[in-house]
């Protein structure tokens, strides 16, 4: 077996609980979307953007079901190991290359958007590579470790998401519920377009493919954890989009790319002013969590491709590679191109492929061994 680990049992030291897994998925899902989602969905679905977000959550739920169905048939190995089983060695590896490319590009996209915001809002003159390497060094430090340590860290930073909610909830002071009326003004097609736009923020549940054998407990409890995570992310995103929709008029949302930050910028409390700076700092850590998840997935995939047992060695090189890719897009147009690439890849690899694989697995009756014990 290419990976070298084969059907070797996963040590008890690397197992995580379903609760930890849930938070890992949430952290992988919630990332740059916090700032970008509202206006990007609003640009196509207008004041029904929140419906699009909920529908995306439902779509994500269906995809989770597919992935879970696939992972359940191979309870003791990860996606990287059963893919060659299903597709044959050569083709399986080729597909893995695409997956690796997707994870790397997605990670780069997250970082590019991150650097974009940071440059727009605080560090206008700081070179992009400095901001990016800062984020990557912090992510690499934890992404090199095994899944257990990563999960522990992500659970710890999970609290910060609630801080974001609290700060954003303050903006309800200026809210005007009339802005979202009338419901379904834009029509179903544009809501669907909004779904496509917002899907990118929901990716992250593919951690299921990588973590399934590491999670303690029954297959059902793993599904439950993933679904709960997805529900949380959906609610969180819907909350943000909804808040932005009722605070800003549709015309304003068109010209404000990061409405959440804009919304909290004018808030002033007794002891602090300019809540956006705090919001952005906390958001930076949330983004780092996402980067950790993608860095982990991409370096695992690449380790398997290179026949390495552990991803600790490969991770720094992958990080360097991601850094270089993230430095290429230097204007909005190139970012859009990158976004399109990632969109196509994700459509194929996270929606299409799992379905095909599930079909193959059932059609040819290929199954993994039961987990011993």
């Amino acid at each position: 077996m290419a990976s070298g680990r084969g059907t070797a049992m996963i040590a008890a030291k690397e197992k995580i609980t379903p609760g930890q897994f849930m938070m890992t998925v949430i952290q992988a899902q919630i990332g740059v979307g916090v700032l970008f989602l509202p206006s990007s969905v609003q640009s196509v679905a207008f004041n029904d953007a929140w419906i699009s977000v909920i529908l995306s959550g439902v779509t994500a739920f269906l995809l989770i079901l597919v992935m879970w169905g696939l992972a359940r048939r191979f309870p003791s190995v990860t996606f990287l190991e059963y893919l060659p089983l299903l597709l044959g060695k050569v083709f399986g590896k080729t597909v893995l290359v695409f997956y690796a490319a997707f994870f790397i590009l997605e990670c780069s996209l997250v970082l590019v958007l991150f650097a974009d915001v940071i440059k727009d809002w605080i560090f206008t003159n700081t070179p992009t590579w400095v901001i990016l390497s800062l984020a990557l060094i912090a992510s690499l430090y934890i992404a090199q470790e095994n899944i257990r340590t990563i999960a522990r860290f992500l659970v710890l930073t999970f609290v910060l998401i609630f801080l974001l909610v609290i700060i954003a909830a303050y903006a309800f002071r200026d809210a005007n519920i009339l802005y979202i009326l009338p419901i379904n003004q834009s029509g179903f097609p544009s809501i669907l377009k909004g779904v496509v736009k917002s899907m990118n923020s929901f990716y992250g549940f593919e951690m299921l493919l990588f973590c399934f054998p590491y999670v303690l407990g029954e297959g059902k409890s793993i599904l439950k954890a993933t679904v709960l995570a997805n529900i949380f992310s959906t609610l969180f995103y819907t909350f943000l989009v909804f808040t932005c929709l009722i605070v800003f008029s549709p015309e304003e949302l068109k010209v404000i790319p990061q409405p959440v930050l804009y919304m909290v910028k004018a808030l002033s409390f007794t002891i602090i002013e300019r809540a956006d700076l705090y919001f952005m700092t906390i958001w930076a850590v949330v983004v780092v969590s996402t980067v950790i998840a993608y860095l982990f997935m991409s370096s695992r995939t690449i380790s398997v491709l290179l026949g390495q047992k552990k991803h600790r060695r490969t991770a720094p090189y992958v990080a360097l590679f991601i850094l270089i890719i993230s430095l290429i897009p230097h204007n909005q147009e190139m970012i859009n191109v990158l976004q399109t690439y990632v969109g196509i890849l994700s459509g194929a690899l996270l929606v299409g492929f799992p379905l095909i694989l599930l079909g193959i697995s059932y059609g040819f009756g290929i199954k993994g061994k039961e987990q011993p014990g």
Partner: protein
């Protein structure tokens, strides 16, 4: 790179396979029937050291000789327990005659010499092929006073001293359980220091005990004079800024930890116990939390944890605000601060480094000097320098406030080790803040917390119960719930038995239930 390595390492044999040097087997000399032979051999073995005393005596009219090292033996004891009974003796058996607690018979000389070094007096009798070693060590103990650096307001005022037996006794006194086990070690190839690990057999996890046992046994060094030296040999990561073994001078703290299933290591000559495995939060607990009521204890404990954040981030936050994000200061405060810093020639990071350095110097100076002068230094430093530095215009008033608050916050921590690490950590965070503002601080904190998540102490996660999250254990980590609520021991030490009390109570109408 090998060149650099040699430059930085003073261990010439780092790459050689470390063999445990077996002690050279000396040819064991049996006790000779002639007194002169024995004396000559011992004198030779001790290289004619001049504190070797030879006292001739007669026992039942047979000539004999008493040998001892005057530097380690108590002459009063020799008189009382050896010479007096021997002079009045009627029986033949010397072991019956001597009134000392420890009398051992030996037929060879080598072990006897080792014992002499530890305070034994040796009696040789003409014509006998054996000798008697009698314990007459000079014991000079200080009293078990309250440790100066770990004072408590309420609770016991005992403290460990430099004697292993006394320290063990202090622990045994509180745990009268037959499950309390002591394992002895002799450490250091030259120093031969006595050490012991103590644990409760029915609580401590055998894996942890084995791990500790292995690490202690693996130490191969000439000098293990104190527990502090041993600490670096057995801890997980010496390059981590966080201490992974708790040092304490308080028996009650050790007892409390033993009852949670942890292991304590005591060393002769060290007035402290090393407790392991411990978590980050153990360093923020103090016996006072348990000796006061739970609300007060919880408040104090939360205050201490809060002080951790203040000590690490406050100067960094101030620097970040002043050099990047001054927009966050509310209006009126803004102009006050602006007025103060306007005339300062240096950027805030230099101001802060200067002030932090000054405080560290003052602290070190105050600690080294005898206490009356130490206090003077505090006053001179705090008031005179603090005031002058502002008047000269080197540092602004707000910066002094910030630095002073930070210093106070770092002194709140009950453990010195943790206090050091917090003081160290604040510098990188400050530098990051001066480079990247808030983002820098948060990346610094992210790295610190990531490190805490990674760190383990003897196989248990160091940052438990925050990571891995176990909310159940928070009631004795972040706060201190009433004792009847603490039904289970914390999981981090992996004790064999989780339940530690049963919250049932008698009577009714209270808030317990």
């Amino acid at each position: 790179m090998g060149f650099f390595r040699n430059m930085f390492s003073n261990n010439r044999h780092v790459n050689m396979s470390r063999k445990k040097a077996a002690p050279a087997k000396e040819n064991d000399k049996p006790v000779s029937p002639t007194l002169q032979d024995n004396f000559a051999y011992i004198e030779q073995a001790l290289f004619r050291t001049e504190d070797l005393v030879r006292r001739p005596l007669a026992y039942l009219s047979k000539p004999g000789v008493l040998l001892y090292l005057s530097s380690v033996c108590d002459s009063q004891k020799i008189h009382e327990t050896i010479l007096k009974p021997m002079a009045q003796a009627g029986a033949d058996d010397l072991e019956v005659v001597l009134t000392a607690t420890l009398v051992e018979k030996y037929s060879s000389l080598e072990p006897v010499i080792d014992l002499m070094l530890r305070g034994y007096a040796v009696i040789f009798l003409e014509g006998r092929q054996e000798c008697h070693a009698v314990r007459a060590a000079f014991i000079n103990l200080r009293s078990v006073d309250e440790p100066a650096n770990e004072k408590s307001i309420q609770g016991s005022h005992d403290g460990f001293i430099e004697s292993l037996p006394v320290n063990l006794q202090l622990i045994r006194k509180q745990i009268n359980s037959r499950n309390l086990i002591v394992r002895r070690y002799t450490l250091g190839n030259i120093t031969k220091t006595d050490a012991a690990i103590v644990y409760l057999n029915n609580l401590a996890n055998p894996e942890v005990v084995d791990e500790i046992d292995q690490r202690i046994s693996a130490v191969n060094a000439d000098n293990i004079m104190s527990g502090y030296l041993l600490l670096e040999y057995i801890e997980n990561q010496s390059y981590s800024p966080f201490p992974q073994i708790l040092q304490t001078e308080r028996p009650d703290r050790v007892v409390g930890n033993l009852l949670e299933g942890r292991v304590a290591l005591l060393t002769e000559g060290t007035p402290a116990a090393l407790v392991m495995p411990v978590t980050f939060f153990a360093f923020y607990q103090s016996p006072d939390d348990y000796n006061s009521r739970s609300l007060a204890g919880s408040f104090i404990r939360l205050l201490r944890l809060f002080s951790f954040f203040i000590a690490i981030t406050l100067p960094a936050y101030y620097i970040a605000v002043l050099s990047f994000h001054y927009e966050v200061i509310p209006m009126e405060l803004f102009y006050q601060i602006k007025g103060s810093v306007e005339k300062i020639p240096y950027p805030p990071i230099l101001e802060a480094l200067f002030m932090e350095l000054a405080i560290e110097l003052l602290r070190e100076a105050g600690m080294r000097l005898p206490s009356p002068i130490g206090q003077t230094i505090g006053i001179v430093g705090g008031l005179v320098i603090g005031d002058a530095v502002v008047k000269v215009g080197l540092v602004s008033y707000p910066m002094i406030t910030v630095v002073a608050l930070t210093a106070i916050a770092s002194f709140v921590i009950p453990s010195h080790e943790m206090s050091y690490s917090v003081r160290l950590l604040r510098f990188p965070v400050m530098i990051l803040a001066s480079l990247f503002g808030f983002i820098g601080i948060f990346f610094g904190l992210t790295m610190i917390f990531a490190h805490l998540c990674k760190l383990e102490s003897f196989g248990t996660p160091y940052f438990a119960p925050a990571s891995p999250m176990r909310l159940k254990d928070w009631k004795d980590a972040l706060i201190r719930s009433p004792f009847w609520k603490l039904n289970e021991r914390p999981l981090d030490a992996r004790p064999l038995k989780l339940e530690q009390e049963n919250g049932k109570r008698k009577g009714n109408g209270d808030d317990r239930g």
